[in-house]
Symmetry: C2
Subunit: 393 residues, 2 copies
């Protein structure tokens, strides 16, 4: 976990405000759930590998003593690892108060006990929109429209949605490796096609017929280079549920031209997805900046009704790294008034009033003995103007 | 801990944005520290009783096994209980990168394992500004100005700052009960004067001379009813450090007329305060909605330089409870377009585009079978306008 030193937090706040303003205009209602959830929710099997990364909170007082005596658990609550599992629990808890379909927006921290590495932190921020209660691809379409507009609103140019459906990939796998091949390990191997060579991916599938594996990988690579219509025509005989392809066609057709493509090799890690899945690519980076998909039925795991559900999550830190500060920060002067005497200070505050009311930022600060270092530090924080308090007499 | 159900979170977000916008105009830099801190920081003695309320995070893997075998601690990190201790640790860690004096703004959750009761939650939000490195009351004055303006910006009318200095109260105590009377228990008793009768407070101080205790309490009550000049004249012979009263006079004189009063009985619980302390009263409620004070030297406890420090914290949930939604939420239409067919849905999204671009919120939602209940639920969320998708043809 890390401290965020100025000017980074101001940029994050501006990015958050812009994204949430778009979601508000689309009618997504902001919700907040606590950072801490019961372990029975967090470890319910919906979180996949993330469940292994939960930070658990130690019991206190008598409960802790009982646990240490072997008569109970050391922990019963923990920090959330995503916003999707808490949302499903939230909707199950509050269904009577919520309109259906319900459209939610969330922005908040999540925690995972991952091995720290460059660009990965144990506390990070997710920014999610979800639609609960909408069974058709109307949900997918609107989530994609709103996410694209949110990314536009923070000035990220050239973002493209890659779209797929779990059942496309399972159809391809069944067609090539036989209907009894468990698709899980094949998903995991194919997911590496953006990092490894086809031969290296094939090597991970050595328990299958090598020719069939090669054909499967070649087809996935080949499909990636085709236009949408040609992709759908090729997939037609292999995807048994007809609605899967017509739904993909409908989603693609509803999004602005050039903003979405079908990526039949797209896997997405989470086991809970049940239909379409999406990721957003940005031309400057090799990783996705957002992702999501359909996860029907998760609310039923938490005692709620069996609702269709679909969500799209922006990787907040990832987009903040790509944002140009000038596209989100307000254009206004940032003034430092450096005072030396009590009289200067009073005059400086009086002088600052109208400038602040006009929208400028005016910081009234004691002039440091080493004023050159002070001004260098202030420049790094984005100050644009320096006024000597003594000149305000 | 609790879920926040719409429309509450949207109001909270609007309140946060308005407060932080004021702090930004005053030149406070937003910082973010992690929710989790080392227990060596959280339990360093700076947090008073809050240190007993820390949620500790259970060790994992081998560290946990070692701890259970008696060879280490069950927990080494925990959730922060306030934003002041993390700020002091932050400034100690990052002093080389920060301009001095440094003015910070923070808004974020804190956690305390308190017994849940009405209006108290185990996770709540604090919103703090602090000035590190300013030894004079210029810090107190500016924090008070900025806090009053922030409360004005969210439409809270009639907020008054009550101001005191720890050394006023210790002077009164020494004058009445003798220089050797430990002031701690007397602070605690006098702090209850707003809830208990003078006789009940006197009963808590039965180990002192009853006549002296009665005189002390009478004086504190009497002082509370006087104007500033009369208060200062009465205090003069009892407060030994002359600068204490002139500083209070200067702070009071620098704030807008009628917005601040001297309250010689004001204590504030935290042990770390070293000078002026403040609380903000609101005419509608008996508790304070904000508070703060000077806490010089805390950075030195975390390996940093021995900096003067002063801060003001808004009780975020408390002010949100008092805010009129109309004073902070944008005035804009909130439209629900209820669609029934795929064609309606497409037309509704096309129709929504220009309205969203104009700043309205337009939610495109499937028309529920029980549309009366659906619209009731939407009205509760603040929707102002309902459009039948089928009429958009």
């Amino acid at each position: 976990m890390r401290d965020l030193v100025p000017p980074v937090p101001a940029l994050r706040r501006a990015v958050a405000e812009r994204i949430l303003a778009v979601y508000d205009r689309y009618g997504y209602e902001t919700i907040e759930t606590p950072s801490v959830e019961s372990l029975s929710v967090l470890l319910s099997g919906q979180g996949g590998d993330n469940e292994k990364l939960v930070f658990k909170i130690l019991q206190r007082g008598e409960s802790l003593e009982r646990a240490l005596a072997g008569e109970g658990e050391l922990a019963e609550i923990g920090l959330r690892f995503d916003l999707t599992v808490p949302l499903s629990r939230f909707v199950a808890s509050h269904q009577a108060e919520l309109p259906m379909p319900f459209k939610s927006a969330q922005l908040g921290p999540v925690w995972r006990a991952e091995r720290p590495q460059k660009g990965r932190y144990r506390q990070f921020t997710q920014c999610d929109i979800d639609i609960m209660g909408e069974p058709s691809v109307a949900a997918e379409i609107e989530l994609c429209l709103a996410t694209l507009e949110a990314l536009d609103a923070i000035g990220l140019r050239g973002c493209t949605i890659r779209l797929n459906d779990r059942r496309v990939l399972s159809g391809l796998i069944a067609h090539h490796l036989g209907p009894d091949a468990p698709p899980g390990p094949v998903y995991i191997a194919l997911d590496k096609l953006d990092k490894l060579s086809p031969a290296a991916v094939a090597a991970e599938l050595e328990s299958y017929d090598p020719a069939a594996v090669r054909d499967l990988i070649d087809l996935v690579v080949h499909l990636g280079g085709l236009e949408g219509d040609a992709q759908l025509a090729l997939l037609q005989p292999m995807v048994t549920e007809a609605a899967v392809l017509t739904d993909l066609e409908r989603t693609l057709g509803a999004l602005p031209p050039g903003r979405a493509v079908l990526d039949p090799g797209l896997v997405r890690g989470m086991g809970y997805y049940t239909g379409q899945v999406f990721e957003v690519s940005h031309p400057d980076v090799g990783y996705s900046v957002a992702g999501g998909g359909r996860y029907d039925g998760m609310t039923a795991r938490f005692g709620g009704p069996d609702l269709p559900a679909c969500g799209f999550s922006i990787g907040f830190e990832r987009v903040c790294d790509l944002v140009e500060p000038g596209s989100v920060l307000p254009a206004r002067a940032k003034v430092a008034v450096l005072w030396e005497s009590d009289e200067d200070f009073a005059r400086a505050q009086a002088w600052a009033g109208p400038r602040r009311a006009a929208g400028d930022s005016v910081s009234v600060i004691r002039r440091a003995r080493n004023v050159r270092k002070q001004w260098d530090d202030l420049l790094r924080l984005g100050f644009t103007e320096r006024v000597e308090g003594s000149t305000l007499a």
